[in-house]
């Protein structure tokens, strides 16, 4: 007998939980760069994927918000790259 455990297909890719704005009434009022919630942890709260991966996932499942951040060099750690989740704010 074949015992198959089929996991449910994930629905739409929902990034709304990562955005700072809890209630969004009008999408036009949103700023260009969506502000993320504070103290987000990688692999726990979010994953950072490349453009190709994101496009594929959006194509397959759909997406609500497209949140993009740039890799920057950390001068205090030998210019090691890091993902600036909160652009415009000074590094501490």
């Amino acid at each position: 007998m074949i015992n198959v455990e089929a996991y449910p297909r994930p629905g739409r890719l929902i990034n709304r939980g990562l955005i700072k704005y809890d209630v969004i009434d009008d999408l036009d009022l949103l700023p260009g760069t969506l502000e993320l919630k504070d103290h987000l942890l990688e692999h726990h709260d979010y994953e950072a994927v490349s453009r190709k991966v994101f496009d594929l996932l959006c194509k397959w499942y759909g997406c609500d918000f497209e949140i993009a951040r740039c890799l920057k060099a950390d001068p205090f750690r030998n210019n090691r790259l890091y993902l600036d989740l909160y652009p415009g704010t000074d590094l501490v």
Binding site: N3, A6, Y7, R9, I14, E47, S50, L57, W60, L71
Partner: protein, 470 residues
């Protein structure tokens, strides 16, 4: 002052003129002029008489040339009308015939004899007879000196007289229509010149005649066109009536028939209900059936049926047949008529309904399951084994599920390309190039997707492969 008002031949069209007159009216309204009642009345009177309703003049200046008697009569009439003398001034002939002051386009040869004109009606008739017209009138530098809201009525002489006099005086201007053949005809038309608020207007009789002629011609053309259109419509309607008489007839027949059918049906049904309520005899029902058959069936079939019935009635054995037999014979031909299909008892007998309910209950009861081979799907599923049920579920999953293996493989390949051995097929935010864009997705969703595609499994030949791939 009057002699300086010359006609250069620039004639305004009538609508343009009326517009300007409207503008003048507005202008006059804006100006607060000290006008006495009498003056105002006289001005209004004159403006009404001359059809210059929009003009309300402060002063009225009459310029009557050539025909002294006519001028005098008009002058007198205007005085009788209540226009004060200082507002009326008659210009002399010498003033009128100044050299090189322009040509007179509108000329008049007044046929009116001087008489006792004492009433406004006569004045009106006089002006109508003269056919005074508005016209275009150009002005030179001296026009600035002209007082505003002056109305000038100039009755000009005929061109021939005017030319003769000008020859005598050797300073006569050339008539504007001198080179035309119909000058004489046009010369019989008068001209009225009006100067008001520093603007002079004049419209020659020629223009008016031309415009009136054009208008008449346009009207004629319009009427002709309308006649043509009407005739075309009539022809079209006739042709349509000719081409499609059958269709319309058939449609009308169908409509009338359908209406008659509806009415008959209503009557029949109402009759049947009324009879059922009043407990009519069976003979009446038979009559109704007859009527219904007469209505629903064509005459030759009705005749055949009647013959059959007569035969049956004659035959004592056949007459014992029930009415149901008769209905069956109708069924062979066409659907049952309303009255025949609804027997008296079936309509209102509640006992029949009770019996029907009993039958329905008996059909629905579990005892009759053996006799009635109805398929109960729920019962069938209940009898299936758990193994079979699981197989069915897996098959259903096969139908609805997509192909996650392909997704998994493509994504794994992409991640390997991007990060290589470092990434270990796992998305990392610190791997990439400087200023490279990374897209943030929810880790919760990512985990659910990984579970869905079994992302962490190394072996692809798992149950997922069996389910989703093929």
């Amino acid at each position: 002052m009057k002699g300086n008002k010359l006609n250069t031949g620039k004639n305004h069209s009538l609508p343009h003129f009326t517009k300007e007159m409207g503008a003048l009216k507005d202008l006059n309204k804006t100006k607060d002029l000290n006008i006495s009642k009498e003056e105002q009345d006289s001005a209004d009177l004159l403006s009404k008489i001359c059809n210059f309703n929009s003009l309300v003049g402060k002063g009225i200046l009459l310029c009557l040339q050539k025909q002294a008697s006519l001028a005098q009569t008009l002058f007198d009439v205007l005085q009788e009308c209540g226009i004060p003398k200082d507002k009326l001034r008659m210009s002399g002939q010498d003033k009128f015939l100044r050299p090189n002051k322009g040509s007179f386009s509108g000329v008049v040869s007044p046929r009116h004899e001087s008489g006792n004109l004492s009433s406004l009606a006569k004045l009106q008739g006089f002006i109508d007879e003269m056919g005074l017209l508005l016209g275009n009138f150009s002005h030179e530098k001296e026009e600035k000196k002209i007082k505003p809201l002056e109305i000038e009525i100039s009755l000009l002489a005929s061109p021939s007289e005017h030319l003769n006099k000008s020859k005598d005086s050797q300073r006569s201007p050339k008539p504007s229509f001198s080179n035309r053949s119909n000058d004489v005809k046009r010369s019989s038309m008068p001209l009225v010149n009006i100067s008001s608020a520093g603007e002079n207007y004049s419209m020659t009789t020629r223009r008016k005649a031309e415009s009136s002629l054009n208008f008449v011609n346009d009207q004629r053309v319009l009427t002709e066109n309308m006649q043509i259109i009407n005739s075309n419509r009539a022809i079209q309607s006739q042709t349509q009536n000719k081409i499609l008489p059958k269709k319309t007839q058939v449609k009308s027949e169908i409509k009338t028939k359908s209406q008659a059918l509806k009415l008959n049906l209503k009557n029949i049904t109402s009759q049947t209900f009324a009879e059922s309520k009043s407990k009519a005899t069976s003979a009446k029902v038979v009559n109704n059936n007859k009527e219904a058959t007469d209505f629903f069936y064509p005459p030759h079939i009705i005749k055949e049926l009647q013959q059959q019935k007569e035969k049956e009635n004659n035959n004592p054995l056949k007459s014992m047949r029930s009415t149901a037999r008769d209905y069956s014979s109708f069924d062979m031909i066409s659907p049952k008529p309303v009255t025949s299909t609804i027997p008296k008892k079936e309509l209102f007998d509640e006992s029949v309904l009770e019996h029907q309910d009993e039958r329905d209950d008996s059909l629905n009861s579990s005892e009759n399951l053996v006799s009635t081979p109805a398929i109960d799907t729920d019962r069938m599923f209940r009898t299936l084994d758990a193994h079979e049920n699981s197989l069915l579920q897996s098959l259903n999953n096969l139908k609805t599920s997509t192909i996650p293996l392909k997704e998994k493989r493509t994504l794994k390949r992409l991640l390997q390309e991007e990060y290589g051995a470092k990434g270990n097929e796992f998305p990392r935010s610190d791997l990439g190039q400087l200023y490279e864009k990374k897209y943030i997705i929810s880790a919760k969703w990512w985990r659910s997707w990984k579970e869905y595609v079994n992302f962490d499994s190394l072996d692809d030949s798992t149950s997922i492969f069996l389910i989703s791939e093929y």
